[in-house]
């Protein structure tokens, strides 16, 4: 028995060794792309996410003040010791020319404080001897009030939740409690909500359009279906920008659609199609339709006609059989198509930017303007983090149940 089992053990070991070698070779083949994606894609994204919560600008520029404020009770103004620390910090700040960073950071917290802080830095240079408290308050009265100190204390760490809170229309008040921002500044929740709403709407419309078409094409004779599929694939292969350009042209006030409507006497004045919600949703639906359609079509092609025949021959009516037999069989296709379309919709940037109006901008557009116009990297990062978390959660579901490698490209 022992002797007999030996060769088997050797074989097993050899087999395992061969398997390991094969795995090793496979890993060597995968490694270059894996590392490439890690370096040029994953690392930058992770770096971006850290920017959402990491902002050491106050900690770096006002270290003494922050340390001194740790002992402040938070009531009224801090003591002379803190003012002395502030003046010492300010002198260093003036030396390194970093006043603007403090001004900018605190301006996010207290509007209009930017130039006052920068001016105070300059003024602190002319102060010769302590006590500094009176002199700083004389330089600018903001130093004699509680909010600025509370804000410096709050943002004194290297980590901050300011940007993430603001992305959800929340902020910390002077008592360090999380509160809603004033209604006149609450913008991001509505942008997030709008992004979900437009994505869901587009997903739903594509499904309503795609399902019957897929049904018809899947049961049409092979030759005809193949020809008609070209109508689906041609737009699928045309670039997103080109299709958006097409809609941009079509939706113009004096573009083909409005001209036709007026020619047919259906409207007197041009309808407002471009820069509207209608235009955005129409263009997005057009672009996403093939993404929803192809998986459904693929699933339907794989359903044997004998199921429906059986259902019917057993006495099921056409609607009953469809609802109880066919529809459930196509659910995987519906799930795959809709989930993919929804995920892709969440990230739309170009289309709303070009054919949407001021009230149709989605999260991506707001991220771009936070970076380009406001030069606020923390906010751009925080909004990116939120968008990414949602997308990744849905992607995980998709990959778990459908498999990303099953995506059809044509």
């Amino acid at each position: 028995m022992l002797q007999a089992s030996r060769p088997a053990g050797v074989l097993q070991r050899q087999f395992a060794a061969a398997e390991r070698r094969a795995h090793g070779r496979a890993l060597i083949l995968i490694l270059p792309l894996f590392l490439f994606v890690l370096v040029t894609f994953a690392a930058p994204v992770v770096f971006l996410l850290t920017r959402a919560a990491y902002d050491p600008s106050i900690a770096d520029t006002l270290p003494r003040t922050v340390a001194s404020l740790a002992r402040w009770d938070g009531k009224e103004t801090p003591g002379e010791e803190t003012y002395a620390a502030l003046v010492a910090d300010f002198r260093q700040v003036a030396d390194k020319n970093t006043a603007a960073f403090i001004g900018k950071r605190l301006n996010y917290e207290i509007s209009g404080v930017r130039s006052k802080v920068i001016a105070s830095v300059r003024k602190s240079l002319s102060l010769t001897s302590p006590p500094y408290k009176e002199q700083m308050i004389a330089a600018d009265k903001i130093w004699g009030e509680r909010p600025i100190w509370a804000k410096i204390k709050q943002s004194g760490g290297a980590l901050t939740d300011h940007y993430l809170l603001r992305s959800l229309d929340l902020e910390r008040n002077v008592d360090n409690e999380i509160k809603r921002v004033p209604a006149s500044q609450a913008i991001y929740l509505s942008v997030l909500w709008r992004t979900f709403y437009i994505s869901a709407l587009v997903t739903l419309i594509t499904l309503l359009l795609a399902y019957p078409v897929a049904l018809v094409l899947a049961h049409a004779p092979e030759r005809i279906a193949n020809i008609l599929m070209i109508f689906v694939l041609v737009p699928f292969w045309t670039s997103l920008l080109v299709r958006t350009t097409a809609w941009f042209v079509l939706l113009q006030d004096n573009g083909p659609i409005n001209e036709t409507l007026q020619f047919l006497n259906l409207s007197d004045a041009p309808l407002k199609l471009i820069f509207s919600r209608f235009g955005t949703v129409t263009a997005m639906t057009h672009i996403q339709l093939p993404f929803t359609l192809l998986p459904i079509y693929g699933v339907m092609k794989g359903i044997s006609p004998s199921y429906m025949r059986a259902a019917r021959s057993l006495g099921g009516g056409p609607f009953y059989s469809f609802r109880r037999i066919y529809l459930p069989l196509t659910m995987p296709g519906i799930g795959a198509g809709c989930l993919l379309t929804f995920i892709l919709c969440l990230g739309y940037y170009i289309t709303p930017a070009l054919v949407g109006g001021a009230g149709d901008q989605m999260v991506s557009g707001v991220i771009a303007s936070a970076l380009n116009q406001e030069n606020n990297w923390g906010k751009a990062s925080a909004l990116s983090a939120i968008l990414l978390v949602v997308t990744m959660a849905l992607f995980f579901v998709y990959n778990r149940f459908i498999g990303i490698d099953k995506v059809r490209l044509g």
Partner: protein, 347 residues
């Protein structure tokens, strides 16, 4: 051995020659469209001819984030950037652009309008945000900025810049605030509310523009009856494309912009040479041949073509009610007001 070293030397030479050639080229960034054309004709081309240096031109829409990224990471590929007043002040305070050494430049700072507003700028132009219209479509030409808010006399869509900038000032002026008090009123929460309330009255008739080329295009397409615009773009549509447009010279909002040297610019010497060239009175006068912005160098006025003078926003005839934008106010309050504006505009 010798051959190998020779080959290596050749290789090094082959690699480094294009690099050297690239370093001698100066990258200058301006604002695109008709404006970039004027800068090219008045500055880039004559500068290259006169000095033999190469200018690589780039255009942007004021995205200072790109400059910031370069400076923060020590990879500065732009040398000279033309910025508006607000951006200049913020960038200067943050150290993204350098303080100008006027002695090295060889120009007299006193000759420039608003040169004392920032340490980092050599002013290039004064441009005005104005109201423009199509003369063939309006029976009665508007005479006052209140026309923008007058839906009874001037019904129809109006083009507005998608920014709180200038819109808030005009809303207050149209609501009866004197131009000199505008920024005092805007500094109070009630004043901001008042400006937004006035804007509310024309919100449903507003079409928002973002790029400077859009307003003349909207007038061409007949999308709007009135639009706010940058005066040079309208002038160009009239002069070059023979469009029947006119500018309303009432309470036009003047703002300066100018040349900045990016902190850590690789070609600082060339950058200074270029700015000195672009600041010359004759060059600035020449620029007005291509676009009707007021030159930053006061000495260039006598050199300006008398046909163009009446079209400049700084012409005394046009300046009766014009006002200069308070860049300091906007540098402090833009973030908050833009947030509020974005909330308002999307509602």
């Amino acid at each position: 051995m010798k051959i190998r070293m020779f080959a290596a030397a050749l290789l090094v030479a082959a690699i480094s020659v294009p690099v050297l050639a690239q370093q001698e080229a100066l990258t200058v960034v301006s604002w695109g469209g008709a404006y970039q054309d004027s800068v090219r004709k008045a500055f880039f081309e004559p500068f290259m001819k006169e000095t033999g240096a190469k200018v690589i031109e780039e255009e942007f829409n004021g995205e200072i984030a790109k400059v910031r990224a370069m400076v923060e990471t020590n990879n500065v590929t732009w040398d000279v950037v033309e910025n508006d007043s607000m951006t200049t002040m913020a960038a200067c305070a943050e150290g993204i652009v350098e303080k100008i050494d006027w002695a090295k430049l060889g120009l007299n700072r006193d000759e420039f309008i608003s040169a004392d507003a920032s340490e980092c700028v050599v002013p290039s132009i004064l441009y005005a945000t104005v109201v423009a219209y199509d003369t063939t479509k309006l029976k009665e030409p508007p005479t006052s900025i209140t026309a923008l808010f007058d839906l009874e006399k001037y019904p129809g869509k109006r083009g507005l810049q998608k920014s709180p900038f200038v819109n808030l000032e005009w809303a207050l002026i149209a609501d009866g605030v004197a131009a000199k008090d505008v920024y005092d009123v805007l500094s109070t929460p009630e004043g901001v509310d008042r400006a937004f309330a006035k804007l509310d009255s024309i919100k449903k008739d507003a079409i928002w523009w973002e790029a400077g080329a859009q307003p003349p295009q909207m007038l061409v397409d007949g999308q709007v009856v009135l639009t706010t615009a940058w005066n040079g773009r309208i002038y160009n549509a009239v002069e070059k494309d023979k469009k029947p447009f006119a500018i309303l010279w009432d309470h036009q909002a003047l703002d300066w912009q100018g040349w900045n040297v990016v902190t850590g610019a690789k070609n600082r010497e060339a950058a200074y040479k270029f700015i000195a060239f672009a600041g010359r009175a004759d060059r600035q006068a020449d620029q007005t041949n291509y676009i009707s912005y007021g030159p930053g160098n006061k000495n260039s006025i006598p050199n300006i073509n008398p046909d163009i003078l009446p079209h400049l926003p700084t012409n005394p005839e046009n300046m009766k009610t014009g006002f200069i934008i308070n860049a300091q106010f906007w540098a402090d309050n833009l973030d908050t007001l833009r947030e509020r504006f974005n909330v308002w505009v999307a509602q």
